[in-house]
């Protein structure tokens, strides 16, 4: 992603500071990540990839993600945007209303939507496309919230 970094980095730094405080309050526990994707194998993949460093919670749809995000504290949310009609964007807006600071990474199979969605939801931290480069994702997450 050569053209977005400045914006992304700014966002990452802002949110980074906030989440640190929350994490400290948690008392040195693993940081929590909410993974929302309607495809079970993808949730499994993200869980397997991240479970060594983070506590991963899975949600199979936007409503469930919203419920969890409202009830519990998360340090990061990875969200799938499904269709070109922006399925999932609404959930992001709702989460923002209730929890304004949590960094959100959008994960989608639609490359063409990247610009669109970054513009529409300027408050997302990053955009990754499927198929996922796991190493790059891990680095991105580390840059956002640390280990």
């Amino acid at each position: 992603m050569p053209r977005a970094p400045t914006q992304e980095e700014m966002k990452a730094q802002e949110t980074f500071a906030d989440t640190k405080i929350i994490a400290k309050r948690g008392g040195g526990m693993k940081k929590r990540i909410l993974v929302c994707d309607d495809e079970e194998p993808i949730r499994l993949l993200l869980n397997e990839s991240l479970q060594d460093s983070y506590e991963v919670v899975e949600a199979s749809n936007g409503r469930e993600a919203l419920r969890l995000a409202t009830k519990e504290q998360f340090d990061l949310i990875i969200m799938d945007i499904k269709m070109p009609d922006g399925h999932g964007l609404e959930a992001i807006e709702r989460i923002r209303e209730r929890n304004g600071t949590v960094p959100i990474i959008i994960c989608s199979a639609y490359r063409a939507m990247e610009d669109d969605i970054v513009v529409k939801t300027s408050n997302v931290a990053a955009f990754i496309t499927k198929p996922i480069d796991i190493k790059a994702l891990k680095t991105k997450i580390f840059n956002l919230i640390g280990a």
Partner: protein, 546 residues
């Protein structure tokens, strides 16, 4: 009442009615003048001669005066029998008096009586002449008696002259009546001819108007109209039809349509309609017009139906579809493009998800030592590959052309049994006619019914029941798949078979589109009836094996 009235009516009919033919006043005056002249002439050359002081002279003067009075009688009155009778009575009396005063019994004076009777018969035929003849014979008899009281009734002067008066009355009235009849029939004929002429003129005008009206109507029709007779000669063609054929109306009228180059298709259809005596509707053919341009036309042909065998042939209504076709092509092209876009987007999404899974787990595998995890990851990779393969199958089904479909003899009942064997969570019953044999491709048909059944199962929530009913008709094997699910809304029903349309969160939107495609590939029909909250019936018609 009517019986009592009748004689009076008849009486007045005889005496007061207008004569058969009104005698012209001018003619009457002229004839009487001749009479008077004759009388005066006879009196002048009689034995006594005509002296100014003699009574004969007075008679002659009075006679002349009477003619002047006749002059003042209105012409309409002259047709009354009593008026003319009065006039001729004066004549007879005047002549009798003239004879009496001039003592002209020995002269041929009596001949004037014949003249009067003749004139009377001209005016009023036998009804006028006989009474005058009677009066004349009486007066003549009296004159003879006065001249010679010894005159016997057998005297030749009486015996011959009196009957002669009557004979003249009869003959002249017969003659005048026949003359009048002739005149009348001639006049009637003339009148009739005149009326006929007027009628012909009226009808001709009306016909011209009508023809012009129908011509205007046909010429104003926006569609092309061509009428031909039984042998294909163009009898009527309107400007629009002429424009489509690339010429003027007069270029085509009275021309045999089969002789015109490029119109073979049109004549073929017209002939078909004439021979079968049945209309052909909404056909699409193409013709080559006078400018060698191929034009697609929409065509309806109706044979002319009339009890009169003279009017055989047909009338064709045609529409130039070149513009419509052009638009259609453009639309199809745009549709294809949008479709292609949707398809590409769908493929990207559908394949990238399993690809992510395969790629991701492959990345994880390199660092995983745990044997359980390795096998889990491998299984996930395998599932992902299978899914991609399935997507490819769907695309191929969707993209394949009809000619590529293989046809095997299949028992639909057995096929459905096979499909439903592995479904355990829903009660499925298959009922219906024995041995529903069709020609089809087993795998496609399995996928067809599995897609419908899976949709039905997805739609059912409480107490799911699925009934499959197979019926045989003359041409079709009809399979009803009936569920008691939540049904489909009217809006969604419209888009049911649209590719990539889905209401399911995890649907691809290709399932029912593929169902439709498979049914079409098998020359079948597909109907969906649904009531929201009641359930859905999917009805698949497949052609029976012949």
């Amino acid at each position: 009442m009517r019986d009592k009235l009748y004689p009076r009516v008849r009486f007045s009919a005889i005496f007061f009615c207008h004569g058969l033919e009104r005698m012209k006043k001018r003619t009457l005056l002229l004839l009487r003048f001749v009479l008077i002249l004759a009388t005066i002439l006879v009196m002048t050359y009689s034995q006594r001669g005509l002296n100014i002081a003699s009574p004969g002279y007075v008679v002659a003067l009075l006679y002349l005066l009477s003619n002047m009075m006749v002059y003042f009688i209105p012409e309409t009155r002259l047709s009354y029998l009593y008026v003319t009778f009065g006039i001729f009575l004066i004549d007879v009396v005047a002549i009798s008096l003239a004879i009496y005063f001039t003592q002209g019994m020995q002269t041929d004076f009596y001949l004037i009586y014949f003249l009067i009777i003749f004139i009377a018969s001209v005016g009023q035929d036998i009804r006028g002449s006989i009474p005058i003849a009677i009066v004349a014979s009486v007066l003549y008899g009296w004159l003879l008696y006065r001249a010679n009281p010894d005159t016997s009734i057998m005297d030749p002067a009486i015996l011959i002259r009196v009957p002669f008066l009557f004979i003249v009355a009869l003959i002249s009235s017969y003659w005048s009546a026949s003359m009048r009849r002739e005149l009348k029939s001639k006049k009637e004929l003339e009148e009739f001819a005149h009326k006929l002429e007027q009628e012909v003129e009226r009808i001709t005008t009306k016909e011209t108007e009508l023809r012009r009206y129908s011509e205007t109507v046909i010429n104003s029709v926006a569609s092309g109209v061509i009428a031909v007779n039984g042998d294909g000669t163009i009898t009527t063609i309107n400007p629009e039809a002429a424009r489509v054929l690339g010429g003027k109306q007069e270029d085509f009228t009275d021309t045999k349509i089969k002789m015109i180059k490029g119109l073979d298709n049109l004549w073929q259809k017209m002939k078909e309609a004439i021979e079968s005596d049945k209309p052909l509707e909404r056909l699409q053919i193409s013709i080559t017009n006078a400018h060698s341009k191929t034009i697609p036309i929409g065509l309806s042909v109706s044979p002319l139906t009339s009890s009169d065998t003279k009017f055989t042939g047909c009338v064709a209504i045609l529409r130039d579809l070149s513009e419509v076709k052009g638009l259609e092509e453009k639309l199809k092209h745009a549709e294809r493009l949008s479709y292609l876009g949707k398809m590409a987007s769908w493929i990207a999404h559908e394949i990238r998800n399993p690809l992510t899974v395969i790629d991701g787990f492959a990345q994880l595998l390199t660092n995983t030592k745990d044997k359980d995890k390795v096998s889990t990851f491998n299984a996930e990779i395998h599932k992902g590959i299978k899914r991609i393969n399935h997507i490819i199958e769907d695309i191929l089904t969707f993209a394949r052309t009809k000619t590529q479909v293989k046809h095997d003899e299949l028992n639909l009942h057995d096929l459905l049994q096979q499909i439903t064997e592995n479904i355990n969570n829903v009660k499925i019953s298959i009922k219906g006619d024995e041995n529903p044999i069709i020609n089809g491709e087993e795998e496609s048909l399995k996928s067809l019914f599995l897609n419908i059944i899976n949709n039905s199962i997805d739609a059912m929530e409480n107490d799911p029941k699925l009934v499959i009913n197979i019926r045989k008709t003359k041409e079709w094997i009809i399979t009803d798949i009936v569920d008691n699910g939540k049904g489909i809304s009217k809006d969604n029903l419209k888009n049911l078979f649209t590719p990539f349309f889905t209401t399911k969160s995890r649907g691809t939107g290709l399932g029912l589109a593929i169902v439709k495609k498979i049914v079409d590939d098998h020359n079948g029909k597909l109907e969906v009836e649904s009531e929201e909250g009641e359930g859905t019936t999917c009805r698949v018609h497949l052609p029976k094996k012949k």
